[in-house]
Amino acid sequence: MKCQHCEKPATFHITELTDPNGPSVLHLCEEHARTFLSNEGTATPASALSSMLAKQLKIEKAAEELATADKKTCPICGITFADFRKGGRLGCGYDYIAFEDDLEPLLVNIHGALQHMGKEPTNRSGSPERQHRLMQLKVEMKDAIGKEDYETASRLRDKITEVETGDESSWIEHEPEELDDDFQSETPIV
């Protein structure tokens, strides 16, 4: 018998009892079995995740919509939603915001929930929204310098310092309405 993922002989036969359709048997070569098992039992393997995602999207979205979703790109890491669908792995923390609409049904499907209830880090400056905000401001500042608009540039530099050192309130209230707005836009945000 051949491995389900490659041409090597299947030497491992793993019964997956987590499948909602009842136990299913996987036939894998040693290499693929190890990859599968070292996923610590439950983390859905990337391939299963992307097929789950594909199925779900097909049900919920028309082909046209799907093509639109696939083209969505994260402004921070540059990954597209299609890239995520293929590999099952996200490119950065901001993807959870950039692809929010498309990830939400998936998260509900996997976890049955959309709100974190567990512990929180004491240092919460690691939020992707904040990082995105910083990036926007830096691009704008560079822009302003390029145009020799030093007044704006200096205002933006102060703003950057404020976001970098401040707490959540220093950027959340100034967050632009549309997160997906082109961050290189020349419209002054402050």
């Binding site: 019964t15 009892l17 995740l49 996200l90 998260l107 709100q115 209830m117 567990g118 690691g126």
Partner: protein, 343 residues
């Protein structure tokens, strides 16, 4: 695992892991080689200033040879993914193997706490402390709504995976295992069994873990897994009782033959070893074999794996040579010589 701890006749080990990412870097798939180095360096620096690092060892996995990487994998201190991926990656090892921290695995950080027997609560407490310590030096990628952000959406939220490894030979022997697990599946707990070639059971080990990571707090997730374990232990005990009552002679014969093969074979595969060690383990726990100790059996499960044998010999061995070496090793540690107890 030392074969101690609560319910250790059935529960091999309790394990908790957390997935964490640093906010200053993209997730692994978008990391440049430079990013990976910077992540490893910042984790290394953070550890140097923490109390846990006084005796923990930072190991550069990229510099390890095949055998060393496989050795760490066999001890479940690193994953296959960490072992086989490319670029800067590391593992921080506790000398007592009570925790390990993988750097640049699927997520920037994978913290793992291990405990023998069934003791999830204290494993979680240790994990919580370890995480708090690291978090005081590193900035984690975190979002108020979705919690700790992870490369795979299946881990987002708490990033927590709680798992218990169980030895269930009697449920397997009485063919009740599928029925039991079908019932478990309904409550969102994942079960995984490992089988070898020809659907021979690989040691009758099963792993139970939580399926979801978002929407419940850590203690609730721990409790969810913890809750089902006593039921499984109970089922397994009943099945063992049944086997002893129905056919004590057959069972005694069966486990004694298993021990006989392990003690006398001249060549034995890893799979066959697992298969017979599992029977011997049950035999010892039922008092049918009394000259072998459980910690010895538990250690043999690990020490007879390929990289362990090769490390012991100090060089690489072919499959055939490994099978011969394994047979020698088993004979040395299972025949009635108290001084041969493995340390």
């Amino acid at each position: 695992m030392r074969g101690q701890g609560p319910e250790s006749d059935i529960v091999m080990s309790s394990r908790i892991r957390l997935a964490r990412n640093l906010s200053d870097f993209p997730f692994i798939r978008k990391c440049t080689p430079k990013d990976r180095i910077a992540i490893a360096t910042s984790v290394h620096h953070a550890l140097d200033s923490l109390p846990l690092s006084s005796d923990a060892e930072y190991v550069d996995v990229a510099k390890l040879g095949d055998l060393d990487r496989q050795f760490l994998m066999e001890r479940q201190l690193i994953s296959h993914e960490l072992s086989e991926s490319q670029g800067a990656r590391a593992v921080i090892l506790d000398p007592n193997e009570r925790f390990s921290i993988m750097v640049n695995e699927e997520d920037h950080l994978r913290l793992q706490v291990m405990q023998s027997g069934l003791d999830l609560e204290s494993a979680w407490q240790r994990m919580d402390q370890l995480d708090n310590q690291l978090e005081s030096k590193l900035i984690y990628s975190y979002n108020k709504r979705l919690g700790y952000l992870t490369a795979c959406p299946t881990n987002v939220g708490t990033g927590l995976r709680v798992s218990v490894m169980l030895h269930l030979p009697a449920l397997v022997a009485t063919k009740q295992i599928d029925k039991v697990f079908r019932a478990l599946n309904k409550i969102n707990v994942a079960v995984r069994g490992l089988f070898g070639e020809g659907s021979q059971f690989m040691g009758d080990f099963y792993q139970i873990s939580n399926q979801t990571t978002l929407g419940k707090n850590e203690l609730a997730l721990v409790a969810k897994v913890r809750e089902v374990v006593p039921r499984l232990i109970d089922y397994e005990r009943k099945a063992r009782e049944f086997l002893v009552n129905e056919s004590r002679q057959d069972l005694h014969d069966n486990v004694s033959r298993a021990l006989g093969i392990l003690c006398t074979a001249k060549k034995i595969s890893s799979e066959e070893t697992m298969h017979y060690l599992s029977k011997v383990r049950m035999g010892v726990n039922l008092g049918l074999i009394d000259d072998v100790k459980i910690p010895t059996v538990n250690k043999l499960f690990i020490h007879t794996q390929p990289a362990h044998l090769q490390k012991l010999c100090g060089h690489k061995l072919s499959v055939t040579d490994r099978n011969i070496e394994r047979a020698n090793y088993l004979q040395l540690h299972l025949t009635k010589r108290p001084e041969s107890e493995i340390n």
